[in-house]
Symmetry: C2
Amino acid sequence: MAPGVLIAGGDQVAIPLAMLIVFGSAKLLAEVFERMNQPGIVGEIVAGILVGPSVLAWVSPDEFLNALAQLGVMFLLFRVGLEVKASELIRVGGTATLVAVLGVVVPFFLGWGILLLWGEPQVEAIFTGAAMVATSVGITAQVLESKGLMKARASRTILAAAVIDDVLGLLVLAMVSNMAKGEINLLGLGLTAAMAIGFTLLVLTWGTRTVHKLAPRVQKQLRLGEAQFALSMILLFGLAVAAVYAGVAAIIGAFLAGMALSESTGQRVRDLAHGVTELLVPFFLAGIGLNLDLSALANRATLVLSLIILAAAIVSKLVGCGLGALPLGRADALRVGIGMMPRGEVGLVVAQLGLSLGVITQAIYGVVVFMAVATTLIAPPLLTLAYRKLIDADAKAEVFRIG
Amino acid sequence: MAPGVLIAGGDQVAIPLAMLIVFGSAKLLAEVFERMNQPGIVGEIVAGILVGPSVLAWVSPDEFLNALAQLGVMFLLFRVGLEVKASELIRVGGTATLVAVLGVVVPFFLGWGILLLWGEPQVEAIFTGAAMVATSVGITAQVLESKGLMKARASRTILAAAVIDDVLGLLVLAMVSNMAKGEINLLGLGLTAAMAIGFTLLVLTWGTRTVHKLAPRVQKQLRLGEAQFALSMILLFGLAVAAVYAGVAAIIGAFLAGMALSESTGQRVRDLAHGVTELLVPFFLAGIGLNLDLSALANRATLVLSLIILAAAIVSKLVGCGLGALPLGRADALRVGIGMMPRGEVGLVVAQLGLSLGVITQAIYGVVVFMAVATTLIAPPLLTLAYRKLIDADAKAEVFRIG
């Protein structure tokens, strides 16, 4: 080792180097995909696959990168929340509930049935079903937001359904892991459900009004520089922590924090938070790719099962969520079905949990991870197609405005 | 464990919780300090001491928090670089060189002499001297920037001197660690020096011009959203990595990246980068406090030595750097002397290196860390005092502008 490297501290390079590789490759491939008229977001996931252990092995998903990915998706949902008013979400609540419930029931039983037919044991079948339940709304939100489609009715429905889906997914997973450990605790499950639902509703209704009333008053009192931004960050992290303790995902807390601030937050805070999001989201996207291990699919039987499960994952959300959203008309039903498709990091969490509980094999783990990543890769281009009419209408409106 | 906690993933809470505690406490104490007319920055360091292992032990400086701290100081120096033109830095180069050289020589020999008089072995004395050499410019930069004093001549001189100081500190440390390992490699030292100086000068002159010419052209070609921000981030991480390989600190690379972009970067990128900086700098500041272990000072002899070394650290930079800056007049000389005082994270790195090489005892480690943190705590209020005239003048100008 050169003395210079020693002095500068051998690991001083680790952080900026990992940032450079992940962020740089994500942005490079986003650019390449945009030029091929594909969503840049898919390019960023592919970048993760390329620089990750599967192909180039330049970086591996370590603690630091996973933490940045977690922060990235939290900021993404926070930003999405900033664009949403609680009242708008509550308005689509009925349809969204139907979307969420059918979007949980159909994938679960389809996944469970397929694995039983394939000859896998009961526990593994149930776990795979559970992994097919959870929707990762981050990807969809990113696509819709980047195209300015967050205000569309279908988009609102997807968001509301994703929040309900998270609570349901949590219950399914709680049941499944209790089953895996051979102890079913109905009281515990009921409490979990009540806490998760109570927390979400409480923040959704009372929290938003309180923040709207208090925030401007508190900000005026503070001498701190960028006080509004600091308060927003504290609310973001605070609600993320509270959400986890209440039993829902941290990103739901982040989303609720954004929503609670949506009416009282000025452009300044939005710009500052936007900077953090722009920096961190690539770590979330590339992180999904980093976690894919292509070698798990080298076995032919596993590969076939993977493709079947992938097809089932696509069809089940399309049919389940689509049916739920049919009252909105067929075009919107299609959008909702596709928007609920990505399993992303939520699927990865379920797979890792199953592996750590010792109830699924390495092969099934590979199948589930493949399903989670592939549904995430497929959704953005499909979503762009399904929303094309709205995008074109927007573009025309734009032309009229300019002209 | 409640099923909810299990499902949500037990460690899903770790990241937002650490963010909440460190960021929240830093901002809370910054507010408290501002209300006591003390610099908020000192409050943020104190927050780190409070929530860290020394007092409340709510968090400990783990890999994740240290990584955020590293990123934080990189973004801080990047932002400072954005405010500085290379030509302005080169203009004060002569004085800055004198400031840096005297600011290295005086502290080194003073620290070395004191430890010999105290009866410590030669190696330990040399290492303590080396730890007193390096200036941590992050703190000073933060104070000056938050008060809008970056344009003052003394501020420019401090920045330029800090860059040179970093190269010199690197050489001192290379020599010292070679000595500790009993092998002195003059050729290696020469190469290290040449690379570090060459890299800095190359980026300072040729790099800035190239970026200024190329950046607008490249940005026009890109289809990526927020392309200018993405390119800036890639340059930031790229130069940070290159700096470490060339033998200087990552933050010097970040500073040079900011400077290279200073003339071609618009307000949008500044705002986005500002958001990241606002989020991450508290982790750098509180991180300094987190690393302080007050129990190391429980021993009375160690406490006395700590106070002597602290006094020596203050006086030696004040005299050394102040003498070097005397051509600028006494007021500016005082500002420069105080601005170069904080040892911050650089001192911590040296102390850790000494400990890992096994050449300093745990007691001396505690002494050095105390010196590094205490000089960092003392500098901001002194700096505010020393710059008072300029701040008042600014405030008057402001009044005139408004009136």
